[in-house]
């Protein structure tokens, strides 16, 4: 009941927020320098043709009217056309979103497979040699990862593992130059190649994903790692943990209950990191030549391509709002102290 009320309230807030975000984006994008009608027709087209196109695209109308027209179309799934490539934005997004989501999800999986256990192990204060060893290593990691630009790490990895060692493929995209992409089903290289039963493509895709995913996980896993470790450190030394031990409760239960307290803030920071991962993907996709959303955004900014940019930023905003919502809901379900109303 409490949960349902909270959920309803949050969804109620979500809709105006998304509308507002798309409007702000719309205004910003329309302020990009350059005349898109002129850019679309080329410098040799007569002025009258450019004017006609401007009229057709409603570029001469007030901004609210333009936005209304866009919104109306957006509801029917029509996000407009790219003026540069003459492709539908929705189609582009469907092609490119999976590329970006794939590296983000894989990076998060890596963080949870490696960094989360490490953070929990190294949180205990002990004299155990092995734990001490890991504590020293991860201390260095925590220091380093915050300062390392993701694009630089990507370049250094390419230099070491492609140029020098020659073990991993270079920045040639999702597959080798001679590989053909498997038929589009989900858009994920790994899943699509498995569906097509093409294991060569699967390995090629996996091989090409190693460096970009490692780069994202290494750089963006650091905040999650640091937060979880410090929270776990605190929870393990907290009064309630010592007391539970004094009562003689099973160590496993004591540990899990401490971990539960520690996981709250960690989930919040994970939500923030997912948002940053979307931005990080822009740089990492540029470095590794992946045809994802990030590259799409960079290209459309450079060419003043209204519709793709609008589509991308709207998607990013909705994605972020949904991540925040998910984080809040998980937190709300886990922590009885959070009241149904009120902001963070």
């Amino acid at each position: 009941m409490r949960f349902a009320a909270y959920l309803g309230l949050r969804f109620l807030f979500l809709i105006p927020q998304i509308v507002l975000i798309s409007f702000i984006t719309f205004v910003l994008v329309r302020m990009l320098p350059g005349n898109p009608a002129r850019m679309s027709l080329g410098p040799l087209a007569p002025e009258s043709a450019v004017e006609a196109l401007r009229e057709k695209w409603l570029l001469d109308r007030p901004i609210f009217e333009q936005y209304g027209a866009w919104l109306e179309k957006a509801f029917t799934g029509d996000l407009g056309e790219s003026w540069v490539n003459n492709t539908y934005v929705l189609d582009d997004l469907i092609q490119r979103i999976p590329v970006t989501i794939e590296i983000i999800v894989l990076a998060l999986i890596m963080v949870f497979l490696f960094l989360v256990p490490l953070a929990i192990i190294t949180a205990a204060r002990t004299k155990n040699r092995i734990v001490r060893f890991f504590q020293n290593i991860t201390f260095g990691y925590g220091m380093l990862a915050g300062a390392l630009p993701d694009f630089l790490l990507g370049l250094v990895l390419i230099f070491i593992f492609f140029t020098h060692a020659g073990i991993l493929p270079g920045p040639e995209g999702r597959l080798g130059i001679l590989d053909f992409e498997s038929p589009f089903v989900t858009g994920s290289v790994l899943i699509d190649s498995l569906i097509a039963g093409d294991f060569d493509n699967f390995w090629s895709g996996a091989w090409h994903l190693i460096m970009p995913v490692f780069t994202l996980a290494f750089v963006y896993g650091a905040p999650i790692f640091k937060m979880l470790r410090s929270q776990m450190e605190g929870a393990l030394q907290a009064d309630y943990t010592i007391y539970a031990e004094a009562v003689g409760i099973k160590p496993r239960t004591v540990f899990l209950r401490a971990a539960r307290v520690a996981s709250g803030p960690t989930i919040v920071i994970t939500g923030v990191v997912v948002m940053f991962l979307l931005g990080g993907a822009v740089l990492v996709e540029t470095v590794f030549n992946l045809t994802g959303l990030g590259q799409y955004a960079v290209q459309s900014i450079v060419t003043a391509d209204y519709a793709p940019l609008q589509g991308f930023v709207s998607f990013a905003a909705v994605f972020t709002m949904l991540v925040y919502l998910a984080v809040d809901l998980v937190q709300f379900a886990m922590d009885p102290r959070i009241k149904a109303v009120g902001s963070r």
Binding site: G146, P149, L155, Y240, V261, V282, S343
Partner: protein, 577 residues
């Protein structure tokens, strides 16, 4: 101020001092870098393209034949200045806005609250744009001049400061000093900006350092994708971008050296933030103070020991004791660490009750934790034994020790509300405790838990099972702990400040209840308290602790009638005003 800097510097590990050096080096380069460059930093020289490091060009030359060393020296002028100025703008705009929003929120008027709430929602909308893309769009819209880059970066960082300052002010507003400032007749705005904001300043300063690092990273990232500072201006991100294509064909120097410089810059700003944090937060420099206080305590202890007093040694050694502590010492870390309690000996007969009295800091709680074998990490028992019946608890296997807990040795620790895990219900706590010690079905465990809650006088026990600790009053939480302590009629109950923080009538109720239940079960009690009244009223014997030693122990009436040790006399004189 100067003292504080000196103390902080002393407390720093060597590597941090090194990073601090690098930090000031980068600041120096920001100011003087362009003048120190041995070669022109923006003029192409087609005759010496991509020269490897060494010789005339220490770090080699880039694709345009420009000297990389010179450009790296000159680059902080661009990167650091953008980072610092942008962050400065974010603070100057964000911090006052944060104070305002917090003030509106606490004012309690419907209109003001609605305004603050709407503002925060709008902020959320702004923050839901991916920072990097948002900055890119801003630069694209308004053009890539230096000013516009700074404005774009300042704009995306401002919400961080609004949120931070708002959160700080919201907690500070409840502090007594804020109440006082309001009571003296300061109006809302004056209160916010003159009295509260300065107190939020340390947190802001730490965030500034972190944000400058982040802003530099953002600048470099923007330039890297070609949406920021453009060549030939010496800027690290753009330099890395122009070097990137040569990295793949083994010409690593044009990208790598600027990369290292960028990493070092961001890293040193981050560490500088941590050092600032250390300097600003009094708690962080405590190590030093602690040492001084322990020294003072030790010398006091030395003096006390010099006074020839008949310490009623090994008191109460009648029939086989339940608990016999002999010659117990606890120190920090391994040999050579500070000793916190020294050579403590006492024993407790079955069903007997004994109080240990002392001021805060006298080592009472360390004694409790060492008897219960719950010493936190760096503390260790360095000598002596804690005998429960025939068994020495010191160094006992954890698995065996756990079997004794609650069943035979129960503990009540100070401030019950903080002893209960905030996310565990009363019912889950009780049933897990029962299940940890016996084979019991879930249903039976719940039934037993209800009985236990009834036993300690909690009304509506069935309802309380689903309550979380934050929903309990202090007295109620204390009763839950009492139920946990007495669920198996243990032979020994160790209660550390069992009533601290409760109001006086509740104190009496809880203490009476503890005494009665313990008496029924034949439980021996060791009560640690700072309150002579509690000791006199509830305990058969009293031991007085000072600076980690028991200086006097005797039967309660005798100790009160004729205190021997000067410290006991002093404590008693404080009580009997």
């Amino acid at each position: 101020m100067w003292m504080r800097i000196k103390r902080t510097l002393k407390a720093l590990p060597k590597w941090q001092l090194g990073v601090l050096g690098i930090f000031f080096g980068i600041i120096f380069l920001t100011i003087f870098g362009p003048y120190l460059a041995p070669f022109p930093t923006e003029t192409a020289d087609p005759l010496s393209r991509l020269v490897p490091p060494g010789g005339k060009h220490w770090l080699g030359t880039d694709e345009n034949g420009m000297d990389i060393f010179s450009r790296v020296l000159a680059a902080p002028r661009t990167d650091v200045v953008i980072g610092v100025v942008a962050t400065f703008i974010s603070v100057v705009i964000g911090a006052p806005l944060g104070v305002l929003v917090a003030l509106y929120e606490t004012r309690g008027k419907a209109g003001a609250t609605a305004f603050a709430e709407t503002f925060m929602r709008l902020l959320e909308v702004m923050q839901s744009f991916p920072v990097f893309v948002f900055a890119m769009v801003l630069v694209a819209v308004f053009g890539g001049s230096l000013t516009n880059i700074i404005i774009a970066i300042a704009f995306v960082n401002t919400p961080v400061f609004i949120r931070l300052v708002r959160a700080e002010v919201l907690t500070l507003v409840q502090r007594p000093f804020a109440e006082a400032a309001r009571a003296v007749g300061n109006n809302e705005m004056r209160l916010g900006f003159r009295h509260i904001f300065p107190n939020a300043f340390p947190v802001v300063m730490v965030q500034v350092s972190v944000t400058v690092g982040f802003a530099i990273l953002l600048t470099a990232g923007l330039s890297f994708v070609g949406a920021g500072v453009r060549p030939p201006t010496p800027e690290l991100g753009a330099m890395i971008a122009s070097g990137a294509k040569y990295l793949i064909i083994e010409q690593w120097w044009p990208a790598l050296f600027p990369g290292i410089a960028l990493g070092l810059t961001v890293f040193s700003f981050g560490i500088f933030g941590e050092i600032l944090n250390l300097a600003m937060e009094p708690r962080a420099v405590r190590k030093d103070l602690d040492r001084r206080r322990t020294n003072a305590l030790e010398s006091a202890a030395g003096e006390a020991a010099a006074v020839p007093v008949a310490v009623a040694a090994s008191v109460g050694a009648s029939a086989a004791p339940v608990l016999a502590v002999s010659d117990l010492s606890v120190a920090v870390g391994d040999a050579g660490g500070q000793e916190l309690i020294s050579n403590i000996s006492f024993s407790l007969a079955p069903g007997e009750s004994m109080a240990i009295v002392g001021e805060s800091g006298s080592g009472k709680s360390v004694l409790v934790k060492s008897v219960l074998q719950l010493l936190p990490f760096p503390l260790e028992v360095t000598s002596g034994a804690v005998r429960y019946g025939d068994i020495d608890l010191v160094g006992m296997e954890k698995r065996k020790l756990r079997k004794l807990r609650s069943r035979e040795i129960a503990a009540i620790l100070p401030n019950a509300k903080s002893q209960l895990n905030p996310l565990t219900t009363v019912g889950a706590m009780l049933t897990s405790a029962l299940k940890a010690h016996e084979k019991i079905s879930n249903k039976d465990a719940i039934a037993r838990s209800i009985e236990l809650l009834e036993m300690v006088g909690i009304t509506d026990p069935e309802l309380r099972l689903s309550a979380f600790p934050h929903e309990l009053s202090g007295g109620m939480a204390q009763r839950v702990c009492l139920a946990l302590a007495l669920m198996y009629r243990p032979r020994l109950l160790i209660a550390d400040e069992p009533t601290a923080g409760l109001d006086v009538t509740i104190q009496r109720q809880v203490l009476d209840l503890t005494r009665d239940l313990a008496r029924d079960a034949g439980t021996a009690r060791l009560v640690i308290t700072g309150d002579f009244g509690i000791a006199a009223h509830y305990c058969d014997r009293v031991a007085v602790m000072q600076a980690g030693r028991i200086v006097e122990a005797n039967r309660t009436e005798e100790l009160f009638a004729s205190p021997q040790h000067p410290y006991t006399k002093y404590l008693l004189s404080c009580v009997q005003v």
